[in-house]
Symmetry: C2
Subunit: 119 residues, 2 copies
């Protein structure tokens, strides 16, 4: 990847035009790719899965670290990626930071990926 990736804010849920609505623009492709990249990691998939299925709907950093069996700093890094992509929101309460998945962002991705959305 010779050319450096531009920095783009992709934290809002709705991202771009559907891939089947016509040849996608460079910019829309980049935005979509950045969001997909946020999910394209086994650890982050597991984190999202834990968050989606957690009874309370939210889990703190340390419990997530225990859940995926990785260092807290690593988990914090992944959560930051997910947050930047709008997949997770975090809130500090006391000494803990609680995270929850943003289902609407996942849904937005699913819409964009729909191969039949415009047929």
């Amino acid at each position: 990847m010779p050319k450096a990736l531009p920095v783009v804010d992709v934290s809002s849920p709705i991202c771009c035009t559907p891939v089947s609505a016509g040849p996608i623009s460079d910019e829309a492709a980049l935005h979509l790719a950045l969001r997909l990249k946020a999910l394209a990691d086994p650890t982050r998939i597991r984190l999202v899965s834990i968050l989606l299925t957690a009874g309370a709907g939210e889990v703190c950093t340390c419990d997530l670290a225990t859940g995926v069996d990785l260092a807290e700093s690593t988990v914090s890094h992944h959560l930051s990626q997910l947050r930047k992509a709008g997949m997770v929101v975090s809130e500090r309460r006391g000494m803990n930071v609680y995270h929850r998945a943003r289902a609407e962002s996942l849904d937005a991705l699913r819409v964009v990926l729909d191969p039949n959305c415009c047929t």
Copy 2:
């Protein structure tokens, strides 16, 4: 990424259990991540978009290279990634190789990513 990624065949359309069906297993997370990674690149998004919206449903390597304005070897590499993830099928006819998107693979991904699939 200290530990080397295992080599896994992810070329079949249906991939794994939904992320919201319960905390996902390590293996399922890996499979899903590999498929997402295949799509998590601007160039590959553009290729898939071109294929999905191509009138004939299929496009040869050289026309795709023209479409995304990259070297043919680069495009061939990306197509190989997409093929390995089951997102594209390719067929040689004469001197050209024609590629088409597998919509059912995209759909399978969408199902797995559905945050409400099991509520």
